[in-house]
């Protein structure tokens, strides 16, 4: 199997853990049950079945909570290679909604599939749990950002984190990445107004740091952006438990 045939999840996990032939096979088998969802319509995953999760193989999704006054807070984005609703299978998670941002392709993973896979290959189980713990670390970092970083640093940090995540599945480089998000998405994830998002983006562009335009994020001064955001990728690149 060549690299280009691998699923994004396989790429992601392989970046941190050397998986055996058997483990790779089990992992690919988890991708059997293919599903599609159209952009904009909620997947309402939590309502219908607590038993299934999804592995996102193409497209972007956001998970968010709506407030009574109509404002929305996006908790996290999922990009190819990410799990969706994993915790609702393993544990039990808070109810938030999932909305595909573009048309997406995902593999449905039943609870039984997952438990079978875990039983067969403990190393794979650990790798997947590592990915889940990484997601949690991102939520915590997100919390810190909203609480204690100003709008510029928050935006810079967000764009850099997304870049790191995408690079891991081969969808981005230090130069930039394709990004289907609107400025409204950025506003809802960063806890800002869309108008201010626009001004912040303009400022970052005029300072020669990064350009967000026409569905593309282009890093013009990656190092400068890292400095502005005080971005330390340690919480993303932490080596998995298997490497110890």
């Amino acid at each position: 199997m060549t690299s280009s045939e691998q699923s994004p999840l396989t790429r992601k996990l392989s970046a941190f853990v050397a998986l055996s032939e058997v483990e790779l096979a089990v992992l690919e088998r988890l991708h059997q049950r293919r599903r599609s969802f159209v952009a904009g319509r909620d997947m309402v995953h939590q309502g219908q079945s607590d038993q299934a999760a999804y592995i996102l193989s193409a497209g972007w999704v956001c998970s968010y909570k709506l407030q009574a006054d109509g404002t929305r807070q996006i908790v996290d984005f999922q990009v190819p290679g990410d799990f969706l609703g994993l915790r609702s299978v393993l544990l039990r998670t808070s109810d938030h909604s999932f909305e595909p941002i573009v048309n997406i392709e995902a593999a449905e993973v039943l609870k039984s599939d997952l438990l079978d896979a875990f039983a067969q290959t403990p190393r794979l189980a650990t790798a997947i749990l590592w990915a889940a713990s990484r997601d949690e670390a991102m939520v915590v970092e997100h919390l810190v950002g909203i609480g204690r970083r100003d709008a510029d640093a928050r935006m810079a940090h967000f764009l850099l984190e997304l870049g790191s995540r995408l690079a891991l599945v081969g969808m981005g480089t230090k130069d930039g990445y394709d990004c289907p998000l609107t400025q409204y998405h950025l506003a809802d994830v960063l806890g800002l107004s869309a108008i201010h998002v626009n001004r912040v983006l303009r400022q970052l562009r005029e300072r020669g740091l990064v350009t967000f335009r026409d569905g593309r994020v282009s890093f013009e001064d990656h190092a400068g952006l890292v400095e502005l955001a005080e971005f330390d990728a340690a919480y993303l690149d932490q080596s998995g438990p298997l490497l110890k």
Copy 2:
């Protein structure tokens, strides 16, 4: 065993799951290795041993991240009955620091203890994992609060959530609870300045909603506070998986 002898964790889990004699015994056995920590000095849990977690039995702790510019964001507080560093045992978690707010009593739980307990009593395992997932839901709700609620609602929501958590372990009622936090703690958890925290508290007091004074939170108009905060305890009171 009477209710007053039970550990806070036992009380908490019992509120959601009817535990058998055997399960109660296993749970109490997890509390054997008693430890004390003094207020103010970091427990630096993540550095020393990835193998142990703690069950907090008395006192308060906060988990936080420090930024390069010296500002601090508190991610969560732990009160009696809560786990500390549970995820660093089961999974692997982001590095944040733990600081006891007062002198605390905790039970050290080794990875092996926990796995043994889980093997003996699957229902207990599920109950503990449910508690972990509840903690996660709180972090998400916290994120939403900082992102999309104004200072008044944020404060009201925080005080109510804390009240619910404490009531579950018998340390609070609808009238209020004892609370060792300073206004600086409130500022760092809510993403505000301490000065503004003071003004917000004054305003809530003058509106006859809640009083925060001399280590005590007193609800004067619980319903009014709930309305202001748009507080919906669903994410806290979710029935555990065992009740399904």
